[in-house]
């Protein structure tokens, strides 16, 4: 309704004051309050901000808030409405370049600022992307499709299934690679489930996001986009991968296998790390450098297996000392069919949980053990505790990451109700989620303070 937009975002006291002066947003005004006199343009207010202040943009470009009840007079001298638009230029077509499809799910990979809410809105059409990151046209012919616009924490089975199906469609149409824009928080959940739902892809499937939205000059979005599009267009790695910064510097990205990767820092650019193994490759603007050879190669055909099974009644239980059995019991009572436990050390929980675990077995609930250490394998033979638990039907899930085991169990239970069949699916690696061996360089946490590490970070830009 036009009437609402006239005072966009204002409510309560501030709205009443603005209305009493007929001062709508975008009005150029001179405002007199009990503290002084101010000149500027009335801006829309963030809907989550308090109802007591009016925001104006001063001539200098700064915004300030004025207490609504202190406003004594408003003189309206004009109106200046902002039109925020990313320069849209037609994405050039080059018949000699590969075709890449960018599927959007939301997140801040390429975005612009919404002055009303202060939030960022994704820039997404090929024209908008070309306007922001013209370098993309040097790599490929880009097509885009917005599947949905959700923050990554709101991704779920519905979105997983739609994305898997969309990938299948694009592969059948003959694209040379697929890029999926995604929020970073749960990107590794999605990369894991897509690794199971989309199997034997002939082309790279590259997930990408950004840790700094592209409305910032120092954003990692543009470089991540270039890296991911280059990977999709040119690499011979036909797997589901996550492509994000290697170091915090603007130098290269890493291609992580979709089932062995995890977001490890709440805000760093180089937040994604391959766990218990090494990444598949490094990617810079100039080249893709494989770090290993055991990846699935690109093929010329267009065949791919899509299986979008998903059982929603699966949960992760993060064990803590003194956990009571009621946590497990409540899952049983609520009809859950699968539980992944992130246990301590080699995969342990305390004795008081045993009766609840026994109940799981009786009720036919699949229970799998992973480790909260993230690195390393579950090994339940070493201590009695482990052997006791296996007696109770808890199945060790090798070195599968807890989140990966969670989505895989949901996928497996979606395919069959036969627990023996589920066990077979769970323990047979499909996309590197369980590895037979852990290389010595698969566990490297550079610990600050140690002389050789300090020497390394002072000479190699990280």
């Amino acid at each position: 309704m036009a009437g609402d937009d006239s005072y966009k975002g204002y409510r309560g006291e501030a709205l009443a004051v603005l209305k009493s002066f007929g001062a709508m947003v975008w009005s150029d005004v001179e405002i007199k309050t009990s503290r002084g006199a101010y000149t500027g343009i009335i801006l829309p207010r963030s809907e989550t901000a308090d109802p007591h202040h009016v925001v104006i943009k001063l001539r200098s470009g700064y915004n300030i808030g004025l207490l609504a009840r202190s406003i004594e007079a408003v003189a309206i001298t004009g109106r200046k409405e902002a039109h925020y638009k990313i320069p849209e230029k037609e994405f050039p077509f080059d018949p000699g370049k590969p075709k890449v499809k960018l599927l959007g799910t939301g997140g801040t990979i390429a975005s612009r600022l919404d002055y009303r809410t202060g939030a960022v809105i994704p820039a997404f059409s090929p024209g908008e992307l070309y306007g922001s990151v013209p370098e993309l046209a040097d790599i490929c012919n880009l097509e885009t499709e917005k599947l949905f616009g959700v923050f990554s924490e709101n991704m779920g089975p519905e979105q997983y299934i739609a994305t898997a199906k969309a990938i299948g469609r694009e592969i059948e149409k003959g694209v040379q690679g697929v890029v999926i824009g995604h929020g970073t928080d749960t990107m590794h959940h999605t990369s894991a489930i897509l690794s199971f739902m989309v199997q034997d892809s002939p082309v790279p499937i590259v997930m990408v996001g950004s840790q700094r939205s592209s409305d910032r000059p120092s954003s990692d979005a543009a470089l991540n986009l270039m890296h991911s599009v280059k990977t999709a267009a040119e690499s011979d790695i036909a797997e589901v991968m996550i492509c994000m910064f290697g170091p915090t510097s603007d130098t290269y990205g890493l291609l992580h296998r979709g089932t062995r990767v995890r977001k490890m820092h709440s805000s760093y650019r180089s937040t994604f790390r391959t766990i218990g193994d090494i990444p598949i490759a490094m990617v810079s603007r100039d080249k893709i450098t494989p770090l290993r050879q055991d990846y699935k190669r690109r093929r010329a055909d267009r065949s791919v297996k899509i299986d979008t099974s998903f059982e929603e009644r699966v949960s992760i239980v993060y064990y803590y000392p003194n956990m009571k059995p009621d946590i497990i019991d409540s899952l049983i009572d609520n009809g859950y069919r699968g539980i992944v436990i992130a246990g301590t050390g080699l995969g342990h929980v305390n004795k008081p949980l045993y009766p609840a675990l026994a109940r799981c077995r009786e009720k036919g609930i699949a229970v799998y053990m992973t480790v909260q250490t993230l690195w390393g394998y579950v090994q339940m033979y070493v201590y009695d505790t482990g052997r006791d638990m296996m007696e109770l039907g808890v199945i060790p899930a090798a070195n599968m990451l807890p989140e990966v085991a969670y989505v895989k169990l949901a996928w497996a239970l979606g395919r069959t109700t036969d627990l023996e069949e589920v066990r077979k699916i769970m323990l047979t690696p499909i996309a590197g989620e369980i590895t037979e061996r852990e290389p010595s360089n698969g566990y490297l946490i550079f610990q600050g303070g140690i002389p050789e590490v300090e020497e390394f970070i002072s000479t190699i830009k990280k």
Binding site: T33, R35, G36, A37, Y38, A49, D50, H53, V55, L58, R59, S60, G61, Y62, N63, I64, G65, L66, L67, S70, A82, H83, Y84, K85, I86, P87, R112, L113, Y115, G118, A119, V120, R212, S214, D215, R216, P217, S218, S219, A222, L223, P247, T248, S249, D250, T251, H265, S267, Y268, R269, G448, E454, I457, S458, K461, K462
Partner: protein, 642 residues
Amino acid sequence: MSEYQFNFKPFAEMTDADYAEVGFRSGLEIHQQLLTEKKLFCRCPAGRYSDKYDAEILRHMRPTLSELGEYDGTALMEFKTKKEIIYRINRETVCTYEMDDTPPFMIDEHALDIALGVAMLYGLYLVDELHIARKQYLDGSIPTGFQRTTIVGVNGWIPYKDRRITIIQLGLEEDACREVSDVGHRRTYLTDRLGMPLIETVTGPDMRTPQEVAEVAQICRRLVRSTGDVRTGIGAAREDVNVSVRGGTRVEIKGVPRIPRIPLLTYHEAMRQWNLLRLRDELHGRGVMPETFKAETEDVTRLLQKTSYQPIRDALDSGLVAGCVVLHGFRDLLNWQTQPNTRFSREISDRVRVVACLTKLPNIVHSDSSSETLSSAEWLAVRKAVKATEDDTLVLVWGGREDVKTGTQEIAIRAREAATGIPSETRQALRDGTNGFERILPGPDRMYPDTDLPPKQVTEERLETIRRRLPAPIWTRESWYREIGVPADIVEPLAASRLAGLFEVLVKDWKISPVAASAALVQFRKRLKKKGLDVRRLDEDSLRWIFALFRDKKISRDGVLAFMETVSRGGPLPQAGEIRPASEVEVYAQVQASSAALRSIKIHNPDKKAHALMGLVMTALRGRVEGASIVERVRVAAEEKC
């Protein structure tokens, strides 16, 4: 033509009327670091500087759109330069916030209190709700690509001469990195200063001569220092000076570290603008208008393959290229004087250096130049190849292919601007008082709301608390000092002193004479500092203790100095109860004793004897007697004992 007839005289000969003739206008942006324990948006320690670093990171900057949908001019310029930015990081002073790998923490409350206090001293209208903004800087001086900044107050003024100087606004913001080097496509910064809280005070363009600019800067400096809440020392206060002349454009001279340098800098900038306006007239006279301006670019690498001009020779030998720009109708104009010993060609060279990253000088040569560059035959060949006439000027630039492309474009851009007038620029202050191009002047389009921090309400209670402990503005106090007879040379330093509050108590409540109190607080302090003593030990409590003895007539003025010295040396002080004025008997006995002691000292000049004896007596009595009252007695004693 006639409008720009006036010719700039040497700096010393310029009069106020001359500045009025050229329509000199200037305003200040004063940056002052605040004395806080922590940085503004993280919890790193403030004010610790070191060139040592533990790590380096590398970033690039990309321009983004403003809230109003515009790209900023500076942003686009910086993007053209394609710099690699290296940040040196010392883990003691920098955390992941400054690296732009962690979102901001809440604003430092102490810094905000100081900023609000200063805003009150300027009589600014305070803001009810602070909105943190991001002010874009694409030169890399801040790793985020923007400075977090917020307006605290607007529309104030300070009295100056018989008029008011407007204070447009006062902002609270984080400081930027220190530049280490800028060579080719790589710029390196130290990050220790990054994130330090500072206030930016912006005056109106109200100053009419270069001297006025410096005087107003001094007033503002003393005003903020009077709070005792700001940092002092090298780099703690830096001025940006805006200058324009009639018909000119606002140009900003950035980062002037010392106020006494301002007059010459602003004079030279006014001269530069004036001379550029005269150049524009000359161009228009020749029929070169912005819309008729013509320039062509040619690759002249092959033509110059055999040149003996060393800079080009070296470049071509190492596989680089050379380009030529033909500026139609510009003959001799690259020699047009802009500043002393500075020609218009320098404006072009600066742009090429900054925008095309061709940082090794010389980076251009031109056909107007009288110094030896290409041979006449080579110039002729180039002139022929690019089909230039006698009326045209040729500018050559050499380097990597991409850089030469940017460079030739930039040469044409700057030359065309000469037909328009004066480009809006940020210029750097040079040692000799002239200035050089730094970047295009940014506009309001580079302001974005900071989505990481919520607006912050400034409550009336908070303001009241700050107001209660704020000194009166210096100009109010200065006129009061003059009224009550504070010596003229002490008025200004006293007003800017942290002890101004104590002075008021001493005079108003303790009824101590303004002369005695001000001399002790300013001059005695200075004297002790000169002796190399630690006057920071003289805090308000110890000064109150000393002045209480003076008020109760237990010690003399000399005693005040003596005890101030004791405190500066680190004590110990006697019990206040044990101190009383010296009795007649005591004075007599001391004069006798000191005279006896004096005999063992050889003094050649008999006139100095009384002085020496006085010193001995006063030291022994520790100021418990007024020197003037015993002068006569000491003189007699000194003569007697000859």
